[in-house]
């Protein structure tokens, strides 16, 4: 190893542990002094390059990270809250809509009832007095205050699991079926329907709904208004 290479190597790294360098140093006290000098220079440079760290730097570094993660978690919480809120909102809206969708259309139901029953009630020829009707209607807290005209049939029946009053009365043109149905959450009380040769209109009153079912073409509107004015519910 020549002198130049030796110097170059030590200049690049005074702590070089290459065997050839170490051997050369062992042989020559001058080279030993040279290395010592360079090591001293390194030590000096190390000392001279020391920089006083600002006292608050550590705190700044730790604080900024804490703030950062705090902010991040706050944003995350907000997002989670927003997600939960919108999920709850959607569930609420769709449940309401689903429930409304499932409301029983009592006008439809009344036609189905009359149709399925056949002529059993329609062909009844009883002459039911107002008192008899009112005795039954009293169960629902109601009464008719005026004569209803000819009532052929009045009895309780099962209207989709709700105990109701089923009457057959003489209308302007033909017999008309009238249902008095106590309020139920599952009912869509204001509705009209037609089909199977019948038409029907429902009317929502204070404590019960009234559904009038007549043959198609019959004037049931008049009957509906008449009943509305004659029926009275106790408070």
């Amino acid at each position: 190893m020549d002198e130049l290479e030796f110097r170059r190597t030590l200049y690049a790294d005074p702590n070089c542990s290459d065997e050839r360098i170490l051997a050369a140093i062992a042989e020559d006290p001058k080279k030993q002094a040279f290395r010592k000098e360079l090591k001293q220079l390194d030590k000096d440079m190390d000392l001279a390059s020391q920089v006083k760290v600002p006292d608050d730097l550590v705190h700044k570094l730790l604080l900024r990270q804490t703030m950062q993660s705090h902010r991040a978690s706050k944003v995350r919480n907000r997002i989670q809250l927003a997600m939960a809120a919108s999920v709850a909102f959607v569930v609420g809206v769709s449940f309401t809509m689903w429930q409304q969708h499932n409301l029983l259309n009592i006008a439809d139901q009344a036609i189905a009832h009359v149709y399925m029953e056949g002529n059993y009630a329609l062909e009844a020829q009883n002459n039911v007095s107002l008192q008899q009707v009112n005795a039954k209607l009293a169960q629902f807290g109601g009464e008719f205050t005026e004569e209803l005209g000819q009532v052929y049939y009045a009895n309780f029946c099962d209207f989709e699991n709700v105990r109701s009053l089923h009457m057959v009365m003489q209308g302007e043109n033909g017999k008309v079926s009238v249902f008095v149905i106590p309020h139920d959450d599952a009912h869509n009380a204001e509705s009209t329907a037609n089909g199977r040769g019948y038409q029907s209109q429902a009317l929502d009153l204070k404590r019960a709904s009234i559904v009038v079912v007549g043959e198609e073409g019959a004037n049931i509107e008049g009957m509906k208004q008449q009943l509305k004015s004659k029926i009275h519910f106790s408070a």
């Binding site: 690049a12 440079m45 390059s49 920089v51 006083k52 550590v58 730790l62 900024r64 990270q65």
Partner: protein, 185 residues
């Protein structure tokens, strides 16, 4: 469903706690050397402080990507150098020379302090390509191979630069001594 959520949240906060611990250890162990290195890299204490803060913030954000704690030092240096490079994309600062920076050895004797000031001036006057590998060697005790890896350079290039860096420092010091000798004599 609820209990599972609670568990996962608990483990999330445990993770956060672990991350926080790791980060604190990292800051406490390395911020002095990193700050010192930054000072010598940019030759301005205020800018260095900014860069160090950015570096550690970035380190915190991507702490999960640091798998091996032994690699933390070179990982931080890499982030720091990237932050420094980013600074030049944004804006060029007027830099104050490192000689103006207040230095730790207040308690040293006047004579030594003068020598160190001289040495600092010489080191600060080295061009960046010489100063950077030299500071990696002195501040972090990196070997030639490690410096080459950190700076993405060939090892021979690194050794040449280190040689030239010390050579320049030595020449400058010798020249200063000569001048002083002449003045004094």
């Amino acid at each position: 469903m609820f209990s599972r959520k609670q568990n996962s949240q608990a483990s999330v906060s445990t993770d956060m706690l672990n991350k926080q611990k790791r980060y604190e250890v990292l800051v406490l162990a390395l911020h002095t050397d990193i700050f010192r290195y930054a000072c010598w890299l940019v030759k301005n204490k205020t800018v260095a402080e900014d860069i160090v803060q950015e570096t550690f913030l970035r380190a915190w954000k991507s702490l999960d990507s640091l798998k091996d704690e032994k690699a933390a030092k070179s990982w931080l240096i890499t982030i720091l150098r990237r932050e420094n490079a980013r600074r030049f994309e944004r804006k060029q600062f007027d830099l104050v020379d490192i000689d103006d920076v207040s230095i730790i050895d207040d308690q040293l004797s006047n004579e030594v302090e003068i020598e160190h000031r001289e040495l600092r001036a010489v080191m600060g006057s080295l061009s960046e390509e010489y100063r950077e590998p030299l500071m990696l060697q002195i501040v972090f005790g990196y070997s030639g191979d490690e410096i080459a890896q950190q700076l993405n350079l060939n090892k021979n290039t690194v050794m040449t630069r280190l040689f030239r860096a010390r050579n320049q420092v030595k020449e400058a010091l010798d020249k200063a001594n000569e001048n002083r000798g002449r003045e004094n004599g």
